[in-house]
């Protein structure tokens, strides 16, 4: 029970942070990439602010903590090679991000805020996630096991 409450509070704090940061307004995302119009650098401040907290906590935790409070071990990405899947997938994501002005976090929390645009975007996004994951599972079944577990599992986040 405490485990799910912790995840709930983490998601809620993340959502409030996104709203305060202005990241739930697609115009601020598009504005960050609008170098030839009215450029809005806010997104860079959000990322720097988040990394400023995250990096020292991460480095301290992996050095000194035996395990997380509610889990037997840290589940952290292990791969370090650059592959085509990483670059191509991210490139496709970037097209959608620039087109819709939402990435996954802001889309989920804006659906909670009853935004029609976020709902349309979010349903299509979930269908996209589902198509990929179901396709990977079918491939795994056909091959009698994980063909490329690192391709199917979300290894970076």
């Amino acid at each position: 029970m405490k485990v799910t409450i912790g995840a709930f509070l983490g998601g809620a704090l993340f959502g409030v942070g996104l709203a305060i940061a202005g990241m739930t307004q697609p115009a601020k995302i598009v504005g960050f990439f609008d170098f030839f119009g009215s450029w809005d650098p806010s997104l860079a401040f959000v990322m720097v602010g988040a990394i400023l907290v995250y990096t020292p906590v991460y480095r301290w935790a992996i050095r000194t903590w035996q395990h997380p409070v509610w889990a037997p071990a840290f589940s952290l990405p292990t791969r370090s090679d650059i592959d085509g899947r990483l670059v191509l997938g991210s490139a496709i994501f970037g097209v959608g991000w620039g087109l819709g002005g939402y990435c996954p976090g802001p889309a989920f929390t804006s659906v909670g805020a009853r935004s029609q645009e976020a709902l349309t975007f979010g349903l299509a996004m979930l269908i996209g996630v589902g198509i990929y994951q179901v396709f990977m599972r079918m491939r795994e079944k056909r091959n009698g096991g994980a063909v490329d577990p690192q391709a199917a599992a979300m290894i970076d986040g």
């Binding site: 959502g15 942070g17 988040a50 990483l86 970037g94 959608g96 979300m154 986040g157």
Partner: protein, 146 residues
């Protein structure tokens, strides 16, 4: 480049600090990376014992929007002009792209860069470039509306 009338450096930094705190909390308490696309994608993989924390994180994200919008509805306004087909194409691209590239703005851009991961840095550069190209086409070629 015209004036930056919508630039919010203080609010965006504070919001970023909160996002970083939430991501750090998920790491300390659950040992997990706070990548929203990864959290969502894992639900579809239906691995036993790995579902409830994911669902609850997303429910928290959803609840925050529901509650916050009661007091600050202006934080969720959509001031760009996008048709329903454009939003659907965008959503599908984000859904498939984040799974194929195994991460999004939070997983690669915040947690990955925060971990000094080379993979996440490359991914972030990749999606930043195509997002910028897409915005250029929509704003400069199509007149800001699609």
């Amino acid at each position: 480049m015209s004036t930056m009338e919508s630039f919010t450096p203080i609010a965006s930094t504070i919001g970023g600090l909160l996002i970083g705190t939430a991501a750090a909390g998920l790491l300390l308490f659950h040992g997990r990376i706070a990548g929203i696309s990864g959290i969502a994608g894992g639900i579809f993989r239906r691995e036993a014992g790995d579902i409830s924390w994911r669902v609850m994180f997303l429910v928290g994200l959803f609840a925050a929007g529901a509650a916050w919008s009661l007091f600050y509805p202006q934080d969720y306004v959509v001031e760009i002009s996008r048709s329903t087909p454009a939003l659907i194409v965008a959503g599908l691209a984000v859904g498939i792209g984040t799974q194929l590239g195994s991460g999004c703005t939070s997983g690669h851009g915040v947690c990955g860069i925060g971990r000094l991961s080379k993979r996440s840095t490359v991914a972030t550069v990749s999606f930043m470039i195509t997002a910028a190209l897409t915005v250029f086409v929509v704003n400069e070629v199509l007149g800001g509306s699609i």
